[in-house]
């Protein structure tokens, strides 16, 4: 059962890494604007030739 000490430590470490990742993304401003990126990704990379011409 002593393996549990190791496993508890591992799970804690993983959880802390995820918490750290969230805090980093928050400080980094990734949650400031959640609407525009969704619209931005729909734009085409290359500009199409105007179909009218």
């Amino acid at each position: 059962m002593n393996i549990l000490y190791f496993l508890v430590g591992c799970s804690l470490l993983m959880a802390l890494i995820f918490l750290g990742a969230f805090i980093w993304s928050l400080k980094n401003g990734q949650h400031d604007d959640v609407v525009t990126p969704a619209m931005r990704m729909l734009f085409d990379d290359e500009i199409k030739k105007n179909p009218d011409e």
């Binding site: 059962m1 508890v8 959880a15 400080k27 949650h31 400031d32 525009t36 619209m39 011409e53």
Partner: protein, 793 residues
Amino acid sequence: MEQQKVSTASLCYHCGEEITGIDRVIDNKHFCCAGCQGVYQILSSNNMCAYYTYNDAPGKRFGQSSHFEYLDESTIIKQIIDYQDEKNTIVTFYIPTIHCSSCIWLLEHLYKINPAIFSSRIDFLKKQITISFNNQELSLRAVVEILAEIGYEPAINLQDVVKENNHSVNKSLILKVAIAGFCMGNVMLFSFPEYFGLSGLEQQFQALFGWLNIAFSIPVVFYCGRDYFVSAWNSLKHQHVNLDTPLALIIMVLFLRTAYSVIFNAGPGFADTLTGLVFLLLMGKWVKQRTYHHISFDRDYRSYFPIAITTLQDGKEKPKAINELIIGDRLWIRNGELVPADSILMKGDAWLDMSFVTGETEPQQKVLGEIIYAGGKQLGEGIEIEVVKNPSQSYLTSLWNKENYTNNFKQNFNDSVAKYFSVMVFIIAFVAMGYWFLNGSSVKAWAAFTAVIIVACPCVLALSTPFTLSAILSVFDKKGFYVKNTDAVEELAKCNAIVFDKTGTLTTTENANLFFIGTLSDEEKKLTVSLLNHSSHPLSRQILKRLACGSFYPISKYKEIPGKGIKGLVNNQMVYAGNKLILPFDIKPDPQHGVHIAINSVYKGTFVIEQQWRKGLINLISKLEDTFNLKVLSGDTNKDGEALKKFFLPTAIIKFEQSPQDKLEAILAQQKAGENVMMLGDGLNDAGALKQSNFGIAITDNINNFTPGCDAILKGSSIHYLPNFYQLSRDGLKVIKISFAIAIAYNCIGLYFAVQGILYPLVAAVLMPISTITIISFTSIATRFFARKNHLI
């Protein structure tokens, strides 16, 4: 007839508006005005026509653009930009016209128009653009001019909404929620073994899990829960009790008892209840913080004023920041610009639209040497004025600096209940403790005392209010009613008197009717239409639509005089259209305000814009009359006094020619008489009254327009829902009270165990989430029910 069909049936390729005047055609595309055509030409020459492929007619018509000379002044630049080094400048602007994905595409490809722009990023909800550009090759002014050229002129005002919003983003609360949630999850994990019972083999882990739980509780109590201690301490210092006081006490008791249990190995602690409680409380706080990105409720006169104004120094024009103006400065005010400070007219023909300040819509003429109050807008040619008072001390701004606004201490339901609640809990806790002491069981006495305090947690009270009220807020904003925060909803429910402003509140200029006083023959109509065809002024276009005449004469000597009107030689006859100032002669008696038409020095008549009452006004007033004491305070003259009286009961008070100060004092007087006043207004002239009233609503036809500081913003088209909004807010308070009763029922179950000193942590840990879930689902279902009952869903 055929020609008319062609010209009215086609829509502008850029802005999508009907083409009423000359149909401009390039590349087989139709445009309504030179502005739209110009934007298209810029875009097509830069190979950016993809703008038009994402949406049909994504553009917006725009009026004349402002002057940007002030953006060359380094002191003003410093106030605007975010960051600057030798090469790179970063600046953020608020652009009100951003409205669709095409806007994002265009504004994020600005580098195609000018390669000196490195990048541009849009925040769509906030309508903001962040531009980074090479300051060696491009000036800030050039950047703004590029934006204005393509129809996206940024709004640069004295009150920088962009910067203020950035400060208000509450990242620290989100961080606290995240940490509390993280700790709660882990504490739950380590508490489960205890719940299911530990076999002899696993006993060794009990101490480890206990210590881990304490370790997780420490950041939750001292970081996440810190605000509750601060708030409780502050309210105790002022000798009153708010809801945070019992909450802080509970958090402390939970923590101490958990620490005691673990250190002295006296069974499992309450770490799971503790972390769960703090997490839920913070969630409630987060729900309460509703942010409307594109709306600001705290605007004052500064958002109306530009950031800079043209001054005259030794006969030369020089831009100067408004907050650096001093007494004696000479200012040059162009057509359409605002007077930023109380001043004396020195030179020029001053026609001032004072509607911002007084609500009176007719322009006033000022003579040389007369005082011009700040907030007036010049119509006509430029004037020269001399500042006599600092901008911050003008008549207009003094409305904001008054000390009237101190008595608005708002106590909500939660805080008023919290006091009785805390007293009750303490009585029960001490009685239980006393009982067990008398029975000689001091261990049980302490257990009972702490358990009572833990179980009687007003957590539900702290949650039901934000959840109910924020559910109501989201019902409101779907109907075009944007309330500042949840506390304001409680204020709305308490109102028993309503004060209306007239112009812009009870009336609207949108879809205004034009009617003509006088007569025009068909030939004269054709002459008028030919002239108006060349103007892009909104009034000209409205008249064109109204006259619906399809054929035109050629025109020569066309001249447009800003703030006055237009004139031109049509078919050898001189035609004038505009306000009084354009006419070559005086008209007696004074005609009504509107667009005057004169042909060959003969006055033909006037197009008058009819003040239109808002739709459903009769219904609205008759519904409100039962519950509220109604009053109208108008800054205008009483020209529609009779029409207005028809809507109201004879007992209603209707007053005209009220200055902003009068309005404010009228509201103060009503409040002294014990009334809770709701104020509906629209302009700066109502600003003082809106702020003083218990619940101030600013009415606007376009949500992006500037509105004065207020508690709520209401779309003009939704004004007929006002009684429903009021009723829903009252129902909301009812829901809160019912959920309070439910919470008390749960507490009684918990107290039953607690007073006996046998509250096992598992019971507390189960009871709390169950009661929370009950309350949250009850409030959301009940709110939906009442919203449906009030026809708001």
